[in-house]
Symmetry: C2
Subunit: 106 residues, 2 copies
DNA sequence: AAGATATGCAGGTATTTTACTGCATATCTT
DNA sequence: AAGATATGCAGTAAAATACCTGCATATCTT
């Protein structure tokens, strides 16, 4: 839904790193994710909360542990709404540049 | 090159709005872009500088005016490196969930 | 050349973000 | 039940961000 949340979530390298690790192995616990992150568990938790807020991951509890799963849907949505739009812009770039050059001659 | 810059640039709604307007009409001047933005020219300039830093727009001067053009390439690159990765994750989601359920039974 | 127009640049401030420490709670193991 | 393990929550300090105001410079018009 909210493109801003998705882009904001992806704007941080720590969070992209977390997604990377979940790509490698989905369903990891908080502890597992912390091991690879070189920051406090609490900080990792905050990052994960942001990713969850953007709906990029979903979580579930298994006993005392929390498992984290990637959700690719919002990223795909963002692709539909933004990247494709730019692709069409790409197609019309030559036209725009031509128009621009013509203006220069005025 | 730098995914972070691209995502950071897209993380702000004002900047996304600027890209939107350039999608509608490429090659607009700073003044034109400011008219639609409900903030000071200086702020718009900063946002545009960030977009340019992410290589999402390129600029050229025409006399005293500065023209702004969309550059779709970095967005496409980000798509290749990130969105597609998640698409493959999507495909393996069922497998991961199955594995997860099996762990529950242990 | 003088005034108008378009943009550049240098701070300054309030908000947001990131990362931390410290303590609390819940679950597992023995 | 007691200790170990996994996570939750609150408050804080430092850094980054997003606005702003004020002034400078460059270009066009007449």
């Amino acid at each position: 839904m909210d493109d801003g949340k998705v882009f904001k979530a992806l704007a941080d390298s720590s969070r992209r790193s977390l997604l990377d690790r979940l790509c490698d192995e989905n369903g990891q616990t908080l502890g597992q994710l912390c091991e690879a992150m070189d920051m406090t568990r609490q900080s990792v938790t905050q990052h994960l909360a942001l990713l969850e807020g953007a709906n990029l991951i979903s979580t579930t509890r298994r006993g005392r542990e929390k498992l984290h799963f990637i959700n690719p849907v919002p990223l795909h949505d963002v692709y539909e709404r933004w990247i494709r739009k730019f692709e069409t812009a790409r197609l019309s770039l030559l036209h725009d540049l031509k128009e621009q050059l013509e203006r220069k001659d005025e």
